[in-house]
């Protein structure tokens, strides 16, 4: 699927305006606004508990924002409409795969859930794409972390989403597996898929992205084009933010 096959009111894949998620005293996301164009790759950095995961959960329709709006692939996420979910794929540190089923069965199941016309064939091709076709009849339980992550990529892009969300995808991967993941991301990026990724890994995150954001205490302290960023300066800023866990709005790394 090409990213603009569906009539979209703007050329932004993701539009976020004053997004807030709070409950009582907890403020997970506190007034975030940004735009992401089709085909762009955004890396969001931030210390633990900064609200990165909550942001992704709102954008993927898993949870409702308290206020503000977010449009993903032209759909208002607050409506939680199923059509929006067809346009997005999600990869997180948990694989979302049934351990007692085989990779093929897993993918067929998710293909059916997404209403694909030929779940069987799509599952086969997806397995070949990630190089797991030889093991398609083994139980997922026997898979290594790296293989699981590859299968989880296959699951996330099975329905050919135009936007991909990755929530700390490198956590717990060895060097080889994370290289494989990077390759896949590069391919997807080259295919003009919109990608939003949260990560702790500065070099990995800065390597591929077009836009960089730093989220601290629920707010975007920083949202810049990769061209305007000096890597070393950003690293210091990021580590400062993690150490102080402080809202550092207004500090520019250049």
């Amino acid at each position: 699927m090409v990213d603009n096959s569906k009539p979209s009111p703007s050329d932004n894949a993701i539009e976020v305006r004053q997004l807030r998620k709070e409950f009582g005293v907890l403020k997970a996301v506190d007034g975030v606004s940004f735009d992401l164009k089709h085909g762009e790759f955004l890396s969001i950095f931030g210390p633990n508990g900064a609200g990165k995961t909550t942001l992704i959960k709102i954008l993927t329709g898993l949870t409702r924002p308290s206020s503000g709006t977010a449009r993903v692939a032209g759909y208002e996420v607050e409506e939680g409409i199923p059509a929006m979910r067809r346009e997005i794929g999600v990869i997180s540190h948990s694989s979302a795969l049934y351990a007692d089923l085989t990779p093929l069965e897993n993918l067929i199941f998710f293909g059916k859930m997404y209403g694909l016309e030929h779940p069987q064939e799509s599952a086969q091709t997806a397995l070949e794409d990630v190089g797991l076709a030889p093991r398609r009849h083994d139980r997922v339980r026997t898979f290594s972390r790296g293989m699981l992550q590859r299968l989880s990529i296959a699951r996330a892009i099975l329905h050919e989403p135009s936007i991909l969300f990755l929530d700390e995808p490198f956590t717990g991967l060895d060097i080889h597996a994370s290289n494989v993941l990077k390759e896949h991301l590069q391919t997807l990026h080259n295919k003009k898929r919109t990608i939003l990724m949260t990560t702790h890994d500065v070099s990995c995150g800065l390597e591929m992205c077009d836009k960089v954001a730093l989220q601290v205490m629920g707010q975007f302290a920083f949202f810049e084009d990769i061209k305007d960023i000096v890597k070393e300066n950003f690293e210091t800023l990021y580590f400062d933010a993690v150490r102080n866990n402080q809202f550092t709005m207004g500090i520019r790394p250049h």
């Binding site: 009582g24 949870t63 866990n245």
Partner: protein
């Protein structure tokens, strides 16, 4: 909150405290001095004048939980969550009092502490449901998940009441038939003085409910405020 509003609130609270105290005192006088002793059951029948209000109060409290749960799922406002929580706690306390006074009455009248009578049984089941509700709240961390789950249970639990009522009623019943509302109309089965005392007692207990609600809600709000400040402190240091 500005200081004026706080003061005003406190004043209102004080009026409620005095009113409740006065109401309870009057009810006590009614129960022990004014009302005549019932012919068949004797002096023990006087338990009824606070047994029934306790039951009414706990039932009313559970109804408030139900309403606040619906409003919470609709509005997603922490306020409703606090009300539901506070009301469930008060309801369980008074439901426990019903379960204690019931057997004390039953022992001399029926000759047994516990009889599997319809109303006693339904009260016990109701008590179990709302204890489970409070346990659910205690088991999960503060946040919207806890509030949503509790709200769902608050709704599911209250809708269970008619089912409990009929199933237990058809199962068996020994309880004295309600005397206040009989087929002949309201209040026909009782002496006017008894009815007045019961009414007074019901009124005083209802006031007591609102008094307790105020305190409980304030407690939750204080906890929230402390949480908020602690969080602020954590991030600013």
């Amino acid at each position: 909150m500005n200081p004026d509003a706080v003061e005003e609130k406190q004043e209102e609270g004080n009026i409620l405290v005095w009113l409740t105290g006065f109401g309870l005192l009057m009810a006590m006088i009614g129960i022990f001095i004014y009302v005549p002793t019932e012919r068949t059951e004797g002096v023990i029948q006087r338990i009824m004048y606070f047994h029934v209000p306790c039951a009414w109060l706990s039932f009313f409290a559970f109804f408030v939980v139900f309403i606040c749960s619906i409003l919470f799922l609709w509005k997603k406002d922490r306020e409703w969550d606090i009300y539901a929580h506070a009301s469930a706690g008060i309801g369980v306390v008074f439901c426990s009092l019903v379960l204690i006074t019931g057997p004390i009455w039953a022992r001399p009248i029926w000759g047994a502490w516990w009889v599997w009578d319809a109303r006693l049984t339904s009260t016990l089941i109701l008590w179990l449901i709302y204890v489970a509700y409070l346990m659910l709240r205690a088991q999960s961390d503060a946040g919207s998940m806890r509030a949503r789950y509790a709200a769902v249970l608050g709704i599911v639990g209250f809708l269970n009441i008619p089912f409990i009522h009929f199933s237990v009623l058809w199962w068996r019943t020994f309880h004295p038939q309600p005397k206040v509302i009989t087929n002949e109309g309201i209040g026909k089965g009782m002496d006017p003085s008894m009815l007045a005392t019961l009414g007074l007692s019901l009124f005083a207990f209802t006031l007591l409910y609102f008094l307790l609600m105020g305190e409980r809600v304030r407690q939750e709000k204080l906890k929230d405020e402390i949480d908020r400040l602690k969080r602020e402190k954590l991030y600013s240091s």
